[in-house]
């Protein structure tokens, strides 16, 4: 009797769900050991994280608040990653989107709500989209690796926002703080009662469903998948790779840009430096862990938001919130490492010729 791993063409549905779940538990275990080694009680820490994120109305609201940008950026990243376009610039596109959105109320403070919000969304999508498109253009024009350009452009975008809020966009009445003037009410996304969680959550659900339908059922969704997995075949089939790279980078950036608008309009109410604590980077893990599936992205974003909010809560225990970032990195490790298991099937056989070599 011989047990061997065999490559399977059709991916096994159960293992696709089971393997990431096991990977998350392995990561919890791994970081638990690390916490124990550095003198903490892992059970106490995890319990505090969980209770902090889900144990109260406030906690749940905060978790949803973090889920919104993570899910949006995750969706944006998934669009690109499906085509094996490694856009890791969601962070910068988020900032550029926030920047585009902020321009609207600063320039036209008296617009009514029904004009203001769509205009802000449009400008945010344009800001983030063009920022992504630029990297896409470098790639199609000169084959410059998008991994590096999008990453470099993250730093540029963050500095650009600082430049604006320390400079011409600074609120003259703001006591010299690097902040823009607060947005007028018409530029704010309404919240649920007194909680911070806002209507942007509907946009997340709507976009997730739209992308799910697009990825699953549309010709374009299929094209981008083929281009990613087999560019040669795609070219033979007459698909326009160049056009698709540009389109995908624009859409990917636009979604992350929209996330930036949702954050400034739904949460912050103005533009200021540091509006994202690395959502764009965390969203990479989110998208990958969700296997780029739009609905799964929302679920995983919720999970990562729990870790994020929980990480914030454990600071009162004297544990740096960085423990949460570490956990997120470890989860990604285990997910990447376990990928091979979903591509293989365990085969039992008695036949000798099943062995090569």
């Amino acid at each position: 009797m011989k047990i061997r791993l065999e490559k399977s063409l059709a991916q096994n549905k159960t293992s696709q769900i089971l393997v990431p779940v096991i990977a998350v538990f392995m990561a919890l275990l791994f970081c638990g050991v690390f916490l124990a080694v550095t003198g903490r009680d892992p059970f106490e820490v995890y319990q505090a994280m969980f209770a902090g994120a889900l144990g109260s109305e406030y906690g749940i609201s905060e978790t949803l608040v973090k889920m919104i940008p993570l899910a949006l950026c995750g969706l944006g990243i998934a669009v690109a990653f499906r085509m094996q376009i490694w856009n890791i610039g969601a962070e910068g596109q988020f900032y550029m989107g926030a920047c585009g959105a902020t321009w609207v109320p600063l320039t036209f403070p008296n617009l009514p709500f029904v004009v203001m919000i769509p205009f802000m969304i449009f400008m945010a999508a344009l800001g983030g989209g063009l920022w992504g498109l630029l990297a896409g253009w470098f790639k199609t024009k000169w084959q410059v690796s998008e991994t590096i350009t999008t990453l470099m452009m993250n730093y540029i975008a963050i500095l650009w926002v600082s430049y604006l809020v320390y400079g011409s966009w600074r609120d003259p009445k703001g006591l010299n703080f690097p902040l823009t003037a607060p947005f007028p009410d018409a530029a704010l996304i309404p919240t649920f009662g007194a909680l911070r969680v806002h209507y942007g959550i509907f946009a997340v659900l709507l976009l997730a469903v739209i992308f799910w339908l697009f990825f699953k059922g549309s010709k374009w969704g299929y094209e981008t998948l083929v281009i990613g997995s087999n560019p040669v075949a795609a070219r033979y089939a007459g698909m326009d790779i160049r056009k698709n790279v540009l389109l995908v980078m624009f859409i990917s950036g636009a979604i992350s840009g929209f996330a930036g608008m949702v954050e400034v309009s739904g949460i912050v109410g103005r533009l200021q430096p540091g509006i994202s604590p690395g959502y764009g980077y965390t969203a990479i893990s989110v998208a990958w862990l969700a296997r780029l599936h739009p609905i799964a992205i929302v679920i995983v974003a919720f999970l990562f938001a729990i870790i994020h909010v929980g990480g914030f809560m454990i600071q009162t225990m004297g544990i740096p919130s960085a423990a949460a970032t570490m956990l997120q990195g470890a989860i990604l490790f285990f997910v990447v490492g376990s990928e091979i298991l979903t591509q293989y099937e365990i085969k039992f056989s008695n036949k000798e010729e099943a062995q090569d070599e």
Partner: protein
Amino acid sequence: MSETLIISILAASITAGTPILFAALGELIAERSGIMNLGVDGMMLVGAVTGFMITVNTGNPWFGVGMALAAGGLLALIHAYLTVTLRANQVVSGLALTLFGSGLSDYLGKAYVGMRAEHTFGKLPIPGLSDIPIIGPVVFKQDILVYISYVLVAATAFYLYKTRAGLFLRALGENPAAVDSVGINVFRLRYFYVMIGGALAGLGGAYLSLAYAPSWLENMTAGRGWIAVALVIFAIWDPWRALAGSYLFGGVDALGFHLQVIGLPISIFILNMLPYIFTILVLILVLIRKGGRLASPQALGVPYDREER
């Protein structure tokens, strides 16, 4: 500009370029073996915090450097296991390493923010050589780690092009099956070179926290690891070009700083963008010159599978 100012900018270019140089050399070696590791920034951060913590606690920066090398190598071991043994996606595994490394370094270093190490690497002019006009104060009035980096570049170039082991290293990235066919263990060698790469990234980080700006700050690399990754492409996988490139980047960095000191009426935020803008421009220029085709190692990024020989 006066001569002293030019000399001081040039000397500062080398200092600012050295952490990138260490990291780029490491990535170059790993990529030559066929494994791309985008976790450079994470490994640098962990190297920086480890080096700083050990130095603060032992008072000996050499221990700090040693442990930074080890820490970088250990993190790279995770990447090697994932990408060589489990044949995982190298891009995503590297991203995970960056994320994990930045979290880990932040977690470990929280208590050390704002602290000062008593013994770090100061300038150590080489007697005689540092008196040569212009070249002396630029090249030979540096700290000891910079001198080590000079030797390391020469040694890497020699190893790569003039030794039998270097020949196998190059072959690993071009045609691992050929290396396998002469009875050499491809997997073991790739592990080795990926770990060397990680160790050098750790050293680059330690250079930041022990010589360049002796202190620890969360995310103190400010993306230098990524610049190092870009630099390897710019250098077309050649150590000497990596050296030139690093100093060029160091120069942009130093120039921004000096312009600020002179009091040029340009926003500090715009000046701080220069290295990143420069990275993109340089990559574009190299690719235009090479017509979009780079002589990258043929098997770079492709997991080696014995069954698919």
